[in-house]
């Protein structure tokens, strides 16, 4: 790396997905476009699989300027910029269109740049669709979750949500989840549909119940140091590349979900269940007020997101 051209910048981007993951492909597209738009002056080198650290570690390195860029989902980002908590609220987004209008609009842009005082800024949202429950039985209503041990990510909102729905939130490491599901250490989990195939969870959880409680996006962030080191042209190029990868990822995602369900149904015998969301929405409603109570900024953000729904 020492012998490379003096004025070409290489930014390091860390994320925790494998290189064949749709998010990696979207970020690679961003890297290629940024290089193209700057005639090779700006390169982005992507480190997949958490080689440079998990999401939290990478964010800490970004804050310290030891790393230029990272991808993290808003569950983990909540700890670094509390406003992201709004994105983790169940059923705050009424539909995918609502979700897209927010992250593509002023509110989304405001949140991305809002974290500058915390040492970093977001440059794009990458959607991973809606998260739902999956288990060895269909979950048609919160009553079905009663007493079930549901694996959650170690995030306060995920834990609270499962509690309100009547389940028992159980934090278990991703790597142990497959065997935990298989052996009944937990009765179910919640994730986006690709967990069925990429994590092979469809082999051990045969019902995917489409309650679509949250749409937790991933955010690509860049450290203040790296951003300030870019020329105006490079900033513009990176921004364009990031936005292009964002719409590319959106266009890809539905196809990926359809393909995932087709594969899970055909190869693994998974049944995808449509559910009535109303009782779920009702059960988790207190969360919105609880989260709004944490700060006036978040309260404002939540009410603006709600106002944009119709």
């Amino acid at each position: 790396a020492l012998g490379s051209a003096a004025d070409a910048k290489t930014l390091r981007l860390s994320h925790n997905n494998p290189p064949d993951h749709p998010l990696h492909i979207a970020m690679q597209l961003m890297a290629d476009r940024a290089e193209e738009l700057t005639d090779g002056d700006l390169k982005i080198r992507i480190y997949p699989n958490g080689q440079l650290g998990n999401q939290r570690e990478s964010m800490e390195l970004v804050q310290n300027c030891s790393l230029d860029m990272a991808k993290s989902n808003t569950s983990e980002l909540e700890a670094f910029y509390p406003e992201y908590a709004a994105f983790n609220l169940p059923f705050l987004f009424e539909s995918e269109e609502h979700f897209w209008s927010i992250i593509n609009g002023d509110i989304g842009a405001e949140v991305l740049t809002g974290s500058v005082d915390n040492g970093f800024r977001g440059i794009s949202y990458l959607t991973e669709g809606a998260r739902s429950f999956y288990a060895s039985k269909p979950i048609n209503s919160p009553a079905d979750l009663q007493g079930m041990k549901i694996r959650v990510q170690p995030s306060p909102s995920a834990i609270r949500m499962v509690e309100l729905l009547g389940g028992n939130p159980t934090p278990i490491a991703w790597g142990e989840l497959y065997s935990a599901l298989q052996q009944g250490v937990v009765d179910g989990a919640e994730n986006n549909p690709t967990a069925l195939t990429t994590g092979r969870h469809g082999e051990v959880a045969k019902f995917f119940s489409l309650d679509e409680h949250t749409m937790v996006p991933s955010v690509v962030v860049i450290s203040n140091c790296a951003w300030d080191g870019l020329s105006d042209d490079e900033k513009a190029a990176l921004d364009t590349a990031a936005k292009e990868s964002m719409s590319f990822q959106r266009d890809q995602w539905q196809g990926i979900v359809d393909e995932t369900f087709a594969q899970a149904e055909a190869d693994m015998g998974v049944t995808v269940v449509e559910v009535d969301k109303a009782p779920f929405i009702e059960a988790v409603a207190p969360m919105i007020e609880e989260t709004a109570a944490t700060s006036p900024e978040i309260a404002d953000l939540i009410s603006r997101i709600q106002a944009a729904a119709n």
């Binding site: 995030s155 834990i159 028992n168 934090p171």
Partner: protein, 167 residues
């Protein structure tokens, strides 16, 4: 004085270990007996574990028990042995000072400033990371004592200990 300090370390290490066993057992019990899994034991256990590893690691250094290939130092005698041991101790001391204390201090202050909190217990992550500079100070203290001994021409206790290897 040294005995009191070591006594405190030993007490802390043993207590943390016992609490850890308690935490993990509690996690299983809550899941089966009570049917309600605990969401905090996982985090308590992980954070205690980090502290155990780091303060235990510092204590272990003081006992001269970290794994090392001591073929070359063992071959030397007299002044040469003292010099090579002093070099090794200086390297360990610089690691403690620069990486653990200075790097750890930056890590703690950055995460405290940024207000990063843990998901379950909602405590500042800076408190978890405080284990690094803390262990660094203990290691540095052990190293300085060892250097003083070496300067007086004596091999410090921890180098005389015959460290049994581990697997």
């Amino acid at each position: 004085m040294k005995r009191i300090l070591e006594g405190i370390q030993v007490t802390v290490i043993v207590s943390v270990f016992v609490v850890l066993v308690g935490c993990v057992s509690w996690q299983v019990i809550t899941r089966y007996a009570l049917g309600v899994p605990s969401t905090v034991t996982d985090e308590i256990a992980r954070f205690l574990f980090i502290w155990l590893a780091l303060i235990g690691g510092a204590y272990t250094y003081g006992q001269g028990r970290h794994l090392a290939i001591d073929v070359i130092p063992m071959m030397m005698t007299g002044r040469a042995r003292l010099i090579i041991e002093a070099c090794i101790t200086l390297l360990v001391a610089s690691f403690a000072l620069f990486v653990m204390i200075w790097g750890g201090y930056q890590l703690v202050s950055r995460t405290l400033d940024a207000g990063q909190i843990s998901p379950s217990l909602q405590i500042p992550m800076g408190l978890v990371y405080l284990a690094i500079p803390f262990a660094g100070v203990v290691i540095l203290a052990y190293a300085v004592v060892a250097l003083i001994e070496l300067a007086r021409g004596r091999l410090p206790m921890q180098l005389i200990n015959d460290a049994p290897p581990v697997e």
